[in-house]
Structures are given as structure tokens and as C-alpha cells.
């Protein structure tokens, strides 16, 4: 995913012009610079992803853990493992994957609700999964449902709803983040939507 942002933050007194040049780069170009130990490039990446990860974490963890601390840990892990990232592939699912792992750990250690990462939908092939891009109307409808009933969903359904409707990621990206087959994403989304509607309408 190519991501450009106009964010211009000076992290270490570098010239504004340099920062502007960095902010014009794609996530993958910045990641390549970070691999070469460019800390300012990492600063730009952090400013791009901090709001997204905080939003994802807040909705997913539902305040069971201090989200700012977890997101800081996500950035630390990102920096430590950046050499593992293949710069020919999209950066976004890769950093979301790190965030997913740490969020799940936080959920496991802070929540009384057990987190079950494996469900029956991971076992069988869902050849007939639907890639049905949500239209504006559906997204609008889901926004209301999410605001009302997201906390009622079990974590694996809550997460897929957040990634698709809030973070607006593609099925393929979500599959890469969760390390599940793409068909499982489709099935989980369908079940999550149904559960959400059922909860909100009180059926």
C-alpha cells in the first residue's frame, strides 16, 4: 500500500526540507531508509501510524490495557525487526501484524475474557467466500452498529470488523495481518456483521 502524508515533524533538528522530502516517500521507501539506520525516516513512519494504531488498539482492547504503552511497544518491536521486512511488499500489513500480536498479548494478560485465536473457520476451505466490497451505505450503517455494539463481539470478530470498516483495509491485507486464509477473513466478517446486527437489534 502506498502511503503519502504531509506530516512534517522534526525529530532531531534535521532541516525542514529534509523532513519534507522524507514525508513525500512511501512507507516502503521509508522502511528501506530505516533499515539503513535512518532514525528520522522512522520518526515519519511513526507519525503516520501512531493515530491508526491508537485507533485500532483502543477499539480492539476496549481499555483493558494502557494503549499508549502498547503502541510504544509496537514501534519498538517494529524498529527491532525492521530488517525482516521485505521492502518489495506492502509495509502496512507488516506493522499491523506486529500491532495485532502485541494487542492480543495485552488482551490475554489483562482481560478475564479468554482470547481464542483459532476458530473452526480456519480449518476448512471457504472457496465460496465473498469479496463484497462494502458500499458507502453499508459502511455508514456499520459505523452506527460499531459505535453501539462493538464491545459485545468476541475479540476475533471485533478485530476483523475494526480492520475492515474502521481501518478500511482490504481482505488480502487483513489475511496477512491475522495470518489466516483470505476465505476465513470473509467468513469472520460475515459472522461478525450478523452478530453485531443481532446484538444491536436485540434479536
Amino acid at each position: 500500500m502506498v502511503h503519502r502524508s504531509a506530516t512534517n515533524v522534526s525529530f532531531s533538528g534535521v532541516y525542514y526540507k529534509d523532513m519534507e522530502a522524507l514525508s513525500q516517500k512511501t512507507d516502503e521507501e521509508l522502511a528501506a531508509l530505516v533499515q539503513g539506520k535512518n532514525e528520522d525516516a522512522f520518526g515519519v513512519l511513526m507519525s503516520r501510524y501512531q493515530p491508526k494504531l491508537l485507533r485500532y488498539g483502543r477499539r480492539f482492547l476496549l481499555d483493558v490495557a494502557p494503549i499508549e504503552d502498547v503502541v510504544q511497544e509496537v514501534f519498538i518491536k517494529t524498529y527491532q525487526n525492521i530488517q525482516e521486512f521485505d521492502t518489495t511488499r506492502p509495509f502496512s500489513p507488516w506493522i499491523y501484524r506486529i500491532a495485532h500480536n502485541l494487542f492480543v498479548n495485552a488482551l490475554r494478560s489483562n482481560s478475564r475474557q479468554p482470547f481464542i485465536a483459532v476458530d473452526l473457520d480456519m480449518f476448512s476451505a471457504h472457496a465460496a467466500y465473498e469479496i463484497d466490497p462494502a458500499g458507502d451505505e453499508e459502511r455508514e450503517q456499520m459505523k452506527t452498529l460499531i459505535d453501539t455494539g462493538l464491545s459485545a463481539l468476541v475479540p476475533i470478530y471485533r478485530e476483523v470488523i475494526i480492520l475492515y470498516y474502521v481501518e478500511q483495509l482490504e481482505y488480502q491485507e487483513i489475511a496477512e495481518i491475522l495470518h489466516v486464509p483470505i476465505g476465513t477473513v470473509g467468513i469472520r466478517l460475515r459472522r461478525a456483521r450478523e452478530a453485531l446486527k443481532k446484538y444491536v437489534t436485540g434479536e
Partner: protein, 236 residues
């Protein structure tokens, strides 16, 4: 809890202080290689054990029970090495978990990967069955020259008389029964001499002195009533 705007500052400070270090690329290459090697070794071990199961069922004669109607099937179920098969299953589950570290491992449904492993396991262990590996190891075990796996291999020759299963050489043929004797000089637990009454309709004329037979029977008191007899080919 950190204020939001301190997150980036803190992380960069930690990096500059050297408290957070970037792992070198070789670390990830070695980790992937280690996982790959571990998966390969696990697969080989699973193949070896699975082929051992086939070998032991064949070598012990337990497979003949499948030919002896429902009672034979019931005895087969009690004698099949289920625990060993469970070990293979556990190895496959472990292997699947290792493979999920690779993109091809998590992009496919778990069941499909498991089925693939099963196919690879069956084909691989069948191919391994064509080699003299297990026969060689069994003869080593019989001669007491296989310290690590010796007991495991010798268990193939365990006695199953308590389940009504006998194996031996025909030493005497009478009008209504025949006698078999077994002495393979291994662990001795399966050795002995037994007189067996054949099932109704069995033609004792089929038997000759010196024939090797596999017998499944019901034991009532001192009398052994066979419900299934298999004459083994001369080389078994």
C-alpha cells in the same frame, strides 16, 4: 500511561541511547532456516514412525486379523498401535504450527495443510516401506544391537496370546486339531506350543508340517478354538 505525543519521542530516545537495537538481517535468515530445518526433521521423524506402524502391523501379522470377520476386526482394533499413531498425529500438528511461520503455511486452511501432510506422510512412509530399513533395524534389535530403539522394535514380537492370537510352525496334524510351536529366540514371551481346533469347514488337508500359520482364536479353558487361520507364505 504515556501521553500520545510522548510515544515517538520516547521511542527515538531509546533508539539513540542504544537501549533499542535493530536485529541484523542474518538473525531473521537464521531463524527462518532453523524453523525450516526443524520442520524437515519433524517430517522425517513422522515418516519414520508412520512407516514403522505399517511395518509392525505387517510384520506382527496383526493385518491378517482384518480377514477374520467381525471378531478379527475387533481384535485388530485392540492390537493396533494407536499410541504410536497418536504420536504421528501430534508431530503433524507441531509441523503444521511450524509451517504457519511461512506465508504458504497460513494462507491455506489448516485442514488442507493437514491433508497435504497426511498425503506426504502416506506416500513417504510407503516409499520408506520399500527399503530394507525396518527389517534391518528389527534384526539388529533381535540381536540386541539396537540400544535406543531396540525395545520399540522388539515389541513387534510381543505375545498376544491373551487376545487369542498365536503364531507358529505346524508340528502336528491330527484329525480334529493341529499343533503349532513357536520359538524365535528373541524375548521368549511369545514362545510355546499350542493345540488348536480349526473353525467349522476348515480343511486340515491344507496344512502341512512345517507350515507357518497365524491364528486368531477364542480360548475356553484349556481349549483353543480358532475363528481364523492364515497360512503364511514360506518367506514370512
Amino acid at each position: 500511561m504515556l501521553p500520545e505525543n510522548d510515544i515517538q519521542k520516547n521511542v527515538l530516545e531509546e533508539i539513540r541511547k542504544g537501549a533499542v537495537l535493530m536485529r541484523p538481517r542474518i538473525y531473521f535468515i537464521l531463524r527462518a532456516a532453523l524453523i525450516g530445518i526443524a520442520a524437515f526433521v519433524l517430517l522425517l521423524v513422522a515418516l519414520f514412525i508412520l512407516s514403522f506402524i505399517f511395518f509392525s502391523v505387517r510384520e506382527s501379522g496383526v493385518q491378517f486379523l482384518l480377514e477374520f470377520s467381525e471378531q478379527g476386526l475387533a481384535t485388530f482394533v485392540t492390537l493396533f498401535p494407536w499410541l504410536t499413531l497418536l504420536i504421528v498425529f501430534a508431530l503433524f500438528v507441531l509441523l503444521e504450527a511450524l509451517l504457519r511461520n511461512f506465508s504458504f503455511g497460513y494462507r491455506l486452511p489448516l485442514l488442507r495443510i493437514f491433508l497435504w501432510l497426511l498425503v506426504v506422510g502416506l506416500v513417504g512412509s510407503t516409499l520408506l516401506g520399500f527399503t530394507p530399513l525396518h527389517t534391518f533395524l528389527l534384526s539388529k534389535a533381535d540381536n540386541g544391537e539396537l540400544p535406543l530403539l531396540g525395545n520399540w522394535y522388539e515389541s513387534i514380537h510381543d505375545s498376544h496370546q491373551d487376545k487369542g492370537v498365536y503364531r507358529g510352525e505346524v508340528t502336528n496334524i491330527a484329525p480334529s486339531y493341529f499343533t503349532i510351536s513357536h520359538n524365535d529366540s528373541d524375548r521368549d514371551s511369545d514362545e510355546g506350543t499350542w493345540s488348536i481346533i480349526p473353525p467349522d469347514g476348515f480343511d486340515l488337508g491344507q496344512l502341512s508340517i512345517g507350515d507357518k500359520v497365524y491364528v486368531a482364536a477364542r480360548v475356553r479353558g484349556e481349549t483353543i478354538y480358532a475363528y481364523g487361520i492364515r497360512i503364511l507364505p514360506k518367506d514370512e
